[in-house]
């Protein structure tokens, strides 16, 4: 027979005989590739759409000038417009404005309004020019008109010519929808108004968000950027389009990378399954291979045979996975949105773009992972001496080489070392590597551990009356640990990762619960839709609220966005009354604080979130300069607080300091503590009766908690989904490897039947084996998972999102999963056992010559 036909014959006959394992391995690869590919597709679609949408807003400018604060004085505009190197200066005022009756979520009730001068914008961002009715071009520069993107029109349910009510601080204003923005991207919810109209109607007279610049021909952009930054000084940022892209990329980078990592976990589990399928198949066919060698097959031919089989599996699985991944991505993006419900990419409706190169890359990953899983078994098969291998019963020895303790020890110590290393490019690369090494090390140690556990169990129970069946099961597990370990590999990988994720999510959830208790101490929170640089409540409104009866305490907050680094998203500034005696009463501080008594009198303290420490290098006790007030002022970092709300950083300061520096007495938020015996309903009713009552956003702290958890759970919905996928792959693995082993042991069962063991007893033995093995896998998986969760909680999370949390274990949930795994493993063993023992006794034994 020619080699190609031998190859086909061997592969097809093997696959036909073990269609189940092959199918499982195929599904594992396919699911792994599909998860990774779909997440990549969704992420890149969402990210590309989000940055394209952001880009379309800022047009084709060469440079942009922004203030360090959210807004800058319009006086800069004529200076730049007259600058000898600048061809065009395009002033922009951008506001997120609340829409009454659209307050379903945290951020999704805002309409982005872009104020432009159409005569300037026509040359830099023509997409933002509204299309008015025929002959009504002056609507573009009117003070009572607004142009809406198709998505915004749909969302607000208005059409050209309709009236639209918006909230400007405490006032409701009515605008006329003068037309559409036909070039807005699908799903992009934006509105355009004349810049003078936005300044006036939203109380932003004199303010701009940014000035976009087009330079004259022949001006070197980079050199001019540096020069202009110098000319403008400290209070302004000069940025290029590339800076803006980096800023957008930074916003979602940690989220995207972590999601990709989770997807790779599925692929990783898949690798173990391929490995176990291939290993078992090689073991099963030892005699077949030995015979071929004796008949003249070379080692290379054999090696090629096994690797080609794996490769074939990899190709099929990867192709299947690409198709599945594309379908999953399409469905997910349709129903969950591009950010899978996490609000990382608000206001865009991405479409999936199929890039053949991406497909090739993910195909290659799938294939190489499969080949990786095939190499070790293939090498072993080739190395075996034909004469020995022809003999039956030496199967267990074959895996011994793979479980060298040194390899495991090296993996584990490297993992330990990696946990101590800092992030690379602000990504927890070493954290993820440590997790992978921990898994590999743990799984490699498995056989030794299994042998040791079951042997000692056997010794201990030797004198007890546990019955022949259990003794047989234990003896089998203790003496053939390598085969057991293969079955365990899959369980271990998936269960430990699931445990780790569960612990991480629970820790996060419990920590957030405690944190919300600290940050939402009041009973009611009242917010006036903030508009731009102005807090919604002016002094008279504040006094009106204080004058209401029924409150124990009223705190006012002023929040604002600061740009401290042009490449990073904005930092949130909170100005509020912080308890001078003990800031802990106001803020969820970590242990890193200056004791309240030892604060010098003359300095202004700020308390920074953990992200500020990671991203901006702020240290407690250090002096920092912040752009608050007319000129930047110096502050003392007095403490670090935990913030799960803003991963890009937040700063808290005393409201009195803020008001002294800025002269801005307006606030955006009010926290209200009710007097004992006052019902919140009466208070809400009296707030509503204030002259500006209709414009208030009143939330009970209990509602805010509920909303926070809803957002949290939605954010982790994908995580749950990935976990379930990992568990299913793991269980499939258990089923596959059990079935393979049990069928391979037909001779053994035949022998047992001959010496008088009942068929039922064999089944009990198999169930016990399955149960014991899974129990060990679950216990080890738990230990391994716990170790991984430590890395996730204390390394990956702080390094990616810049927040720390306390460890909490979801015992009930873990137990439930463990029981489910035990039962399903035992049932699988039983199911395949029935098949094995149904073989005729004589035939089963005759095989063993």
């Amino acid at each position: 027979m020619k080699p190609p036909s031998i190859f086909r014959w061997m592969m097809i006959s093997e696959w036909r005989a073990h269609i189940m394992q092959i199918a499982v391995a195929l599904i594992a690869i396919a699911i792994g590739v599909a998860m990774a590919f779909s997440i990549h597709l969704i992420n890149s679609a969402a990210f590309n759409e989000f940055s394209a949408a952001s880009k379309s807003l800022s047009g084709q400018s060469d440079l942009q000038v922004r203030g360090r604060k959210a807004f800058l004085d319009e006086a800069l505009y004529p200076l730049l417009a007259k600058h000898s190197s600048i061809a065009l200066a395009n002033p922009v005022l951008e506001l997120d404005v609340a829409v009454p009756g659209k307050q379903q979520g945290r951020n999704d009730h805002k309409l982005k309004i872009i104020g432009i001068d159409p005569f300037r914008a026509a040359q830099i961002s023509p997409d933002l020019l509204g299309v008015p009715e025929e002959g009504e071009t002056l609507d573009r520069i009117a003070s009572d008109t607004i142009f809406l993107s198709p998505a915004a029109m749909e969302w607000l349910q208005v059409e050209q010519g309709d009236a639209l009510q918006l909230q400007a601080g405490l006032q409701a204003i009515t605008l006329r929808v003068a037309g559409g923005l036909v070039r807005a991207r699908a799903g992009q919810r934006i509105a355009v108004m004349d810049i003078g109209a936005v300044q006036w109607r939203f109380g932003q007279i004199g303010q701009l968000s940014r000035i976009e610049l087009k330079l004259k021909d022949g001006i070197n952009h980079a050199a001019f950027k540096t020069r202009l930054a110098k000319e403008l000084g400290e209070s302004y940022w000069v940025m290029e389009a590339a800076d803006q892209e980096a800023r957008i990329a930074n916003m979602s980078r940690a989220y995207r990378i972590n999601l990709n990592m989770l997807a790779l976990v599925a692929l990783f589990t898949g690798t173990f399954l391929v490995f176990s399928t291939q290993a078992l198949s090689v073991i099963r066919r030892r005699q077949q291979f030995a015979l071929l060698r004796v008949l003249g097959f070379t080692r290379q031919q054999l090696l090629r045979q096994i690797i080609a089989e794996g490769g074939f599996l990899g190709i099929m699985g990867s192709v299947l996975g690409l198709g599945l991944g594309y379908a999953v991505a399409a469905v997910a993006i349709r129903f969950l949105g591009g950010d899978l419900g996490t609000n990382f990419f608000p206001g865009v409706k991405p479409g999936i773009f199929f890039d053949p190169w991406d497909a090739v890359i993910f195909f290659a990953i799938g294939l190489s992972v499969t080949l990786l899983g095939s190499i070790a078994p293939a090498l072993e098969a080739v190395r075996a001496r034909p004469a020995l291998a022809l003999r039956s019963g030496a199967e267990d020895a074959v895996m011994a080489k793979l479980s060298s303790p040194w390899f495991a020890v090296i993996c584990l110590s490297l993992a330990l070392l990696f946990t101590q290393l800092p992030p690379i490019f602000e990504l927890p690369v070493f954290g993820y590597l440590a997790i992978a090494l921990l898994l590999i090390g743990g799984i490699t140690l498995m056989p030794r551990f299994a042998a040791w556990t079951f042997a000692s169990l056997l010794n201990r129970l030797h004198h007890e009356r546990i019955g022949a069946v259990f003794t047989l099961a234990l003896a089998r597990l203790a003496n053939a640990p390598n085969q057991a370990a293969i079955a365990l590999g899959g369980i271990l990988a998936s269960f430990s990762l699931m445990v780790a994720m569960a612990i991480m999510v629970t820790s996060f959830r419990v920590s957030i619960d405690a944190w919300l208790g600290q940050v939402l101490p009041a009973d009611l929170y009242v917010r006036a839709a903030a508009i731009g640089d102005q807090g919604g409540f002016q002094s008279d409104a504040q006094n009106a609220i204080i004058a209401l009866p029924g409150f124990d305490r009223v705190d006012f907050f002023r929040t604002q966005q600061l740009t401290l680094d042009i490449n990073r998203p904005d930092v949130t500034l909170f100005a509020r009354p912080v308890d001078k005696e003990d800031p802990r009463n106001t803020l969820p501080l970590t242990d890193d604080v200056i004791a309240p008594g030892s604060l010098p009198e003359e300095v202004m303290p700020v308390w920074v979130s953990e992200a500020m420490v990671d991203l901006y290098g702020y240290r407690v006790g250090e002096k920092v300069v912040l752009p608050i007030g007319a000129v930047p002022s110096e502050f003392l970092v007095a403490g670090v607080w935990r913030d799960y709300g803003r991963q890009f950083g937040a700063i808290q300061m005393q409201l009195t300091d803020y008001q002294r520096l800025t002269g801005d007495l307006s606030v955006n938020n009010v926290a209200l503590w009710l007097q004992a015996g006052t019902s919140s309903d009466t208070v809400v009713a009296s707030l509503r009766q204030l002259p500006f009552g209709a414009a208030l956003e009143i939330s009970r702290s209990s509602d805010m908690r509920a909303l926070s958890f809803e957002i949290f759970d939605r954010s982790f919905a994908v995580t749950y989904l990935l976990e379930i996928v990992a568990v299913v792959i793991g269980l499939l693995g258990v089923a596959a490897s059990f079935s393979a082993q049990i069928l391979a042991r037909a001779k053994e069962f035949g022998m047992l039947r001959h010496i008088g063991v009942m068929r039922r007893q064999i089944l009990v033995m198999l169930t016990a084996e399955g149960g014991l093995l899974t129990a060990l896998g679950v216990v080890l998986g738990f230990v391994l998972g716990w170790g991984i969760s430590l890395i996730l909680v204390f390394i990956v999370n702080p390094q990616s999102f810049h927040w720390t949390m306390q460890l909490h274990l979801p015992w009930g949930w873990l137990l439930a999963i463990a029981v489910i795994m035990l039962i399903s493993a035992a049932l699988t063993a039983l199911f395949f056992g029935r098949k094995a023992v149904s073989v005729q006794v004589i035939r089963a034994v005759r095989e063993d010559w």
């Binding site: 026509a122 299309v131 002959g135 071009t137």
Partner: protein
């Protein structure tokens, strides 16, 4: 005008300027803006400057230039001020109360077609303005300023052409029609204030393909302001202003009626000594001699004209045919504005500019 729907084009502003004079009753009469009345006495230097109480106003300069190698060039410079009659209560410095629009065009027989560029901006921030008191208009770096001695300075640079001219009056100004009260139709309110400065002596430089060329020549300035709309029957107008070789100045226009014929016409001839002859509407007659079909807009313009003012017959021949100003990509305005040579009794009589509006008919919806 389907193009409006494409969104990016900045359409209409100039179209609107013209249609504002052309179409009656699009906007309700504003009580903020003043009407044009015959009893107003123009007073200078005040009336050189902007009149913010009127809806629309323009300073319009055309002329013939000659390069050092004796090659002819035509130029047109227009600054419009347009009161939006909106945003009066908006305190923002960005509130668009007035718009400044400017056109610059150069007719160069060597190029064979009109080079033109136009800009629009809202008045404000000292970046764009039309100041009262004396002629002083700016649109970014484009300026038109009348100095104390009566000399005008124009400075306009586009990306590949531009001009920097100094224009010195050689004659007294010419108040049109009834001492500057210029009727534009049969109804008394259909009028504008209108004076001209013919025979301005020009020196300066023109930038062609970014190469400066020294030029000198003769120019004509019109300053006109109004709040009124033209008769609803009006279709467009033909206008000519010419500096004649004997030192006299000729201006003539007709407002065409939609169904043919004319709604109104006017002509004035002032000789070098300053004696002014005015012609009644029925004494003024425009007759096309030759038409030219624009390859850009398919409009057909009577680029060569026969004009009769009383007993005098004038024949107008264009410097080049393609002097169409097609600004649809930016302002949606399309008109023919060209340098023309005048002959009387088959003898060269002078040089001027012919303006033909309302010949493009895409205004169907």
């Amino acid at each position: 005008m389907k193009r409006n729907k494409s969104g990016s084009n900045f359409n209409v502003f100039v179209m609107l300027l013209f249609s504002c004079l052309l179409i009656t009753g699009v906007y309700a009469e504003s009580n903020r803006l003043k009407p044009v009345t015959p009893d107003y006495q123009l007073s200078f230097p005040m009336d050189y400057g902007a009149h913010q109480d009127f809806r629309i106003e323009w300073w319009y300069i055309t002329g013939w230039l000659e390069t050092e190698d004796k090659k002819p060039l035509g130029f047109q410079v227009t600054f419009f001020r347009y009161a939006t009659d909106r945003n009066h209560d908006n305190p923002s410095r960005f509130a668009a109360k007035d718009l400044i629009i400017a056109h610059l065009a150069l007719s160069d027989p060597a190029v064979g077609k009109l080079m033109h560029v136009e800009r629009t901006a809202r008045e404000g921030f000292d970046l764009a303005y039309a100041k009262p008191g004396n002629t002083n208009v700016r649109l970014d770096d484009w300026t038109l300023v009348r100095e104390e001695d009566g000399r005008y300075q124009v400075d306009m640079q586009a990306s590949d052409f531009g001009l920097q001219l100094s224009l010195t009056p050689t004659q007294s100004m010419m108040l049109q029609d009834m001492d500057g009260f210029s009727r534009k139709g049969p109804k008394p309110e259909q009028a504008s204030y209108y004076y001209s400065e013919p025979h301005l002596s020009v020196t300066g430089t023109v930038l062609r393909q970014n190469k400066p060329v020294t030029v000198k020549g003769r120019a004509w300035l019109d300053h006109e302001w109004s709040t009124a709309h033209l008769d609803s029957d009006a279709d467009g107008w033909d206008w000519v202003g010419a500096n004649l070789d004997d030192g006299s100045a000729l201006v003539a226009f007709q407002i065409r009626a939609k169904q043919g014929g004319k709604v109104w016409a006017y002509a004035a001839l002032r000789d070098a000594k300053g004696n002014m002859t005015l012609f009644d509407p029925d004494q003024v007659e425009f007759t096309p001699i030759r038409t030219w079909r624009s390859p850009h807009t398919e409009a057909v313009y009577p680029v060569a004209m026969h004009i009769r003012t009383g007993e005098i017959e004038w024949r107008l021949t264009p410097l080049l045919d393609d002097q169409e100003l097609d600004a649809r990509q930016s302002t949606a305005a399309v008109y023919w504005e060209g340098a023309v040579m005048l002959t009387k009794d088959n003898k060269p009589a002078g040089r001027g500019y012919l303006e033909l509006t309302g010949y493009v008919k895409p205004l169907t919806l």
